[in-house]
Symmetry: C2
Subunit: 602 residues, 2 copies
């Protein structure tokens, strides 16, 4: 029996002291033995200059052996103003520490005197802190300065020069929430960056989607860095409203956003360590020469359009869901939607509301979860008004979520979805009676795990499932498309659906498809598949990776990065990507441990 320690602060401080001592001595083995044999250390760019989870003592010891001499950690303690807590034998606390070059924070969980999980994350680089709070800029330059440039003159000069007479350090391809959040952090860190996007205005990536679209994640999950939504912001932002927000955010955060800009090609010169990025900006061809290239084209960026027999003979209108304009103009027509995930449901519901005859073709099973249930049971503790009322901040919510290793995350998710399955049994029963093929993920772990593993395969129900259950949206399930004819879609069971319009709600490809388009197939294959954990579940083949493949961290292609995800991920992980870029910009040592291996090409 471990000795009883009545004070969780002492428990945590005691372990941190031992950890500190071992690390100061460079004793990787002793440090690793402070963990449970199967304990976890998740590091966000402080120890590994990578996003990496070490699983078990051996991996922890290996990482420390490789990194300790360079990282020089110290000053481990319970975070200022925080108290450790203990319940059911689990002590936990917010912590802070330092390395040679950075300040870090994190979260620790201790059972029976041993570390179960440790999260370490970089908060800032020493001597390169963001100018905020006590360090915010003055704005006005007091005194008399004959060579004074006003804010506007400086800003206009930057807009004129950057990318022309002066090169950005970083080019971000894609100006959705991901590129914008990263751009904002780089701006604050003083890293010259240009965001290029094919749309005219920031926010157009949302504005141009089907008209009924609202964010499926609630407002508490969606804050951008630095500038949270106000208290009166809607729970689910309508697409045009989030578009306006992104546009104003880009403006007030002073991002160098090149709209109406298509990225034509990018090549990396290993000799000069420089990219050559050719863009067409408002019709003008411009060559950018950044040191770093970030693809923030969105994990939902590259439409996956199927190749069905007869697509060339079909005489109606056909388009991918990303091109769907919404229901106006389809009244009286027959529409067939191929697919049964989020976009398919949203599009079908809006069409039905507009009086259109619409059929959904479900080819494989879908995970359905009601938005209200998701909010209440899956998100509520971290991201909700009640979380805010109980003192939960966005930062703490993000870090709490990040502190649970992916390896065991599903164990926490399964009971949530078992509960939801019971609570919403009525809807699920009625859907199944209609023939709708339901799943809750291969292991019953539900929505987040599906999202993290494959980024698809679900619908967050905001009303369409009732229409399916009621038969208002017609359903054909368990079938594939055999071929298209001039005025119909023929299914594998022989059914022939009359169709004036076919919508392919067939999802999106891996983000390295963008690398193939922009750079080369060779580089795309070199970095391999983007996204997914290697969980060996459907559409997420093993081996186990432990982290999202290639996201927000170094890849096999020097100076090529992938950024994106939902608003929560864009907010949280942009911090670590921006710090990695800043360190390189400043020429700080960034020894990467455990660079991503490639197991799949796409």
């Amino acid at each position: 029996m471990p000795e009883q320690n009545p004070n969780p602060n002492e428990t945590v401080s005691g372990v941190l002291e031992k950890l500190d001592t071992a690390l100061q001595r460079g004793d990787a083995k002793t440090a690793a033995e402070l963990f449970e044999p199967d304990g976890f250390w998740r590091d966000l760019v402080t120890f590994t200059w990578n996003i990496k989870t070490m699983e078990g003592r051996q991996q922890i010891a290996d990482m420390l052996s490789a990194q300790l001499a360079a990282i020089k950690p110290s000053s481990w303690r319970i975070a200022e103003g925080e108290q450790a807590s203990e319940a059911d034998g689990l002590a936990q606390s917010w912590i802070t520490f330092e390395t040679a070059t950075a300040r870090g924070n994190g979260f620790i969980r201790i059972r029976n005197g041993q570390i179960w999980t440790l999260l370490t994350a970089m908060s800032e680089l020493k001597s390169h802190e963001e100018p905020k709070g006590f360090q915010r800029p003055m704005g006005a330059l007091h005194g008399a300065h004959p060579d004074r440039k006003t804010w506007k003159e400086q800003r206009e000069a930057e807009l004129t020069e950057l990318g022309r007479s002066r090169q950005p350090y970083c080019v971000i391809v894609g100006g959705g929430q991901g590129g914008i959040a990263l751009g904002a952090r780089l701006r604050q860190l003083g890293v010259p960056a240009i965001i290029v996007d094919r749309h005219a205005r920031p926010g157009d990536n949302w504005r141009n989607r089907y008209k009924s679209l609202c964010l499926h994640d609630p407002v508490w999950y969606d804050h951008l860095p630095y500038l949270p939504f106000p208290d009166n912001w809607p729970v689910f932002s309508p697409k045009d409203k989030i578009g306006d927000w992104l546009e104003m955010y880009t403006k007030v955060m002073e991002l160098n956003y090149w709209g109406s800009t298509t990225c034509k090609s990018a090549t990396y010169d290993e000799g000069t360590s420089e990219w050559t990025v050719v863009v067409e900006h408002d019709g003008e061809q411009i060559v950018l020469r950044p040191k770093q290239l970030v693809l923030a084209t969105g994990m939902s960026g590259k439409p996956n359009t199927p190749s069905f027999k007869g697509m060339d003979v079909f005489e109606g209108e056909q388009h991918h869901s990303s091109q769907h304009p919404g229901p106006d103009g389809y009244a009286g027509k027959k529409v067939v939607v191929i697919g049964a995930n989020n976009s398919a449901h949203d599009i079908c519901a809006a069409l039905w509301e507009a009086g259109v005859d619409v059929t959904m073709v479900q080819r494989s099973s879908t995970h359905i979860v009601k938005s209200d249930s998701l909010m209440e049971h899956a998100l509520g503790a971290l991201y909700s008004e009640r979380a805010v009322a109980s003192g939960m901040t966005t930062w703490k919510a993000d870090m709490t979520f990040a502190s649970v290793p992916y390896k065991i995350l599903h164990e926490f998710q399964i009971p949530v979805y078992e509960k939801i399955r019971q609570l919403d049994a009525n809807l699920y029963d009625r859907l199944e009676k209609r023939g709708f093929m339901l799943d809750f993920g291969d292991d019953g772990s539900g929505l987040f795990m599906k999202y993290l593993r494959r980024g698809s395969g679900y619908y967050i129900d905001v009303g369409a499932s009732e229409l399916v259950a009621d038969g208002k949206i017609k359903l054909k399930s368990g079938v594939d498309v055999k071929e298209l004819k001039a005025h119909s879609v023929v299914l594998s069971d022989g059914t022939e659906l009359e169709a004036d319009v076919v919508v392919y709600a067939t999802g999106y490809g891996s983000m390295n498809g963008w690398a193939a388009d922009l750079i080369s197939r060779k580089v795309a294959d070199k970095v391999g598949k983007v996204w997914g954990l290697g969980s060996n579940t459907r559409k997420d083949p093993g081996p186990w990776e432990g982290e999202e493949r290639n996201m927000w961290k170094p890849t096999q292609q020097t100076a090529l990065w992938f950024h994106g995800g939902n608003l929560h991920q864009s907010r949280h992980y942009s911090q670590y990507l921006s710090l990695q870029l800043k360190a390189r910009y400043e020429g700080l040592p960034t020894p990467v441990f455990g660079l991503q291996e490639v197991h799949h090409l796409s």
Copy 2:
């Protein structure tokens, strides 16, 4: 000797209980006797439906006698989550209470068992709370709705209809920070409003000013309602940056902002209780028929241009400071600036920096205070990064400032400026040696009191005073302008200053001048002078008013309101003006006590 009470919570609760009892009984006299004989009760629209300070027991009793029956106050207590504090015999606490129609909060100070000051302020109208936090809108409309209108469709319909097929309840003339802050609050309260402004875009009122302009108040003082500046916002916003912020704020807060719109005339029909407001909007004449009209044209809105002999013979360029474009284009010229307050200093400094030969003509004394000293000694406790770090919120800072009755505010200010006068003695000495005429207000109470009394007469030094002290900005003081000649300005002491350009930094007139222009001289005289406390100091003639004349409260002209002030006042008082308008919009009883009397026409 009063009995010793060791617990300030008990002290405060005890007094609140007695107050509650007396008020419940309708016993105005007993309630008034809970105050010190010269105690103060400042009310922001909860008891008086006015902004009013009752000074001494008699005024308090009179107010209560008139209002108690209608107001029905109850539930006085220490605010939830707050503790009373006590020091040097002064107990104080944040409080809450209710009335028949509203929830209120405030601040109380108790000495020797009696109330010294009481602030009561409306926080919200019952059943008309703002939709925020737990009540925020959903945004998405879940379920199936064949008549669904998207957010964008609704917003576009509103923009098309309001002011044309549907009338706004309120028209706000002037879309600077005042009009915008009020517009945002009305939007949240569901009161249909249109803001009209002659500039094309929100923020142009700042953008179009002289190019070196930055806010003279620091960021902590300047937050707008709902959407505070982020942590990385500059201390002193450059004018174009604050312009961009106002523009994006107007957009994301969904204000109905009519730019490029000139208000031609306004007339009130007492019979229909309706205004007829004629505007020219992008060249089109439109008649608006609101129930309420707010002039938010700015207390610095109507330029005061002097009439000097010879202005018609002067052959150079002459303009009011509000029209001054900044120094570009004046290199090599001789510029004479008439005036010695903020604009005069800013303009002179920018001209000197651009190598212009510039002379400041000081006709009467000016209060100078260094920006750093002001931040540290006058604002620091409430509005600063250290205040934020110590837990001070914008709301608490505003309320703390509001809790000190104007009658005694100067007593708290005098020692601050005595200290500043000592600390910055070197600058003041050097200025006086140059002949600069200094003052600290008639009673030495410094900047805020000058601002509150007359809105002018000072310069917050951000560098120009050094240039004056050094003789780089030339100075002629203690003189007036006798006349202008073709190429010179002749002063009362006979000096003749060569001049290619004359800038009249001669300030602004009372806001009721706008009422005269827009409505009629008769109505302007009916409402009388706007701004000032009646302190019987220079440019603020008595009798004592106790509150800012005509600001944010009912005037002698039904349905005519004045709104404005600095960013702090625009933020804080827009709350009370918006609640007054909302109550009238909803048809709630709003018995006004102590309507503003008129003692001066302008």
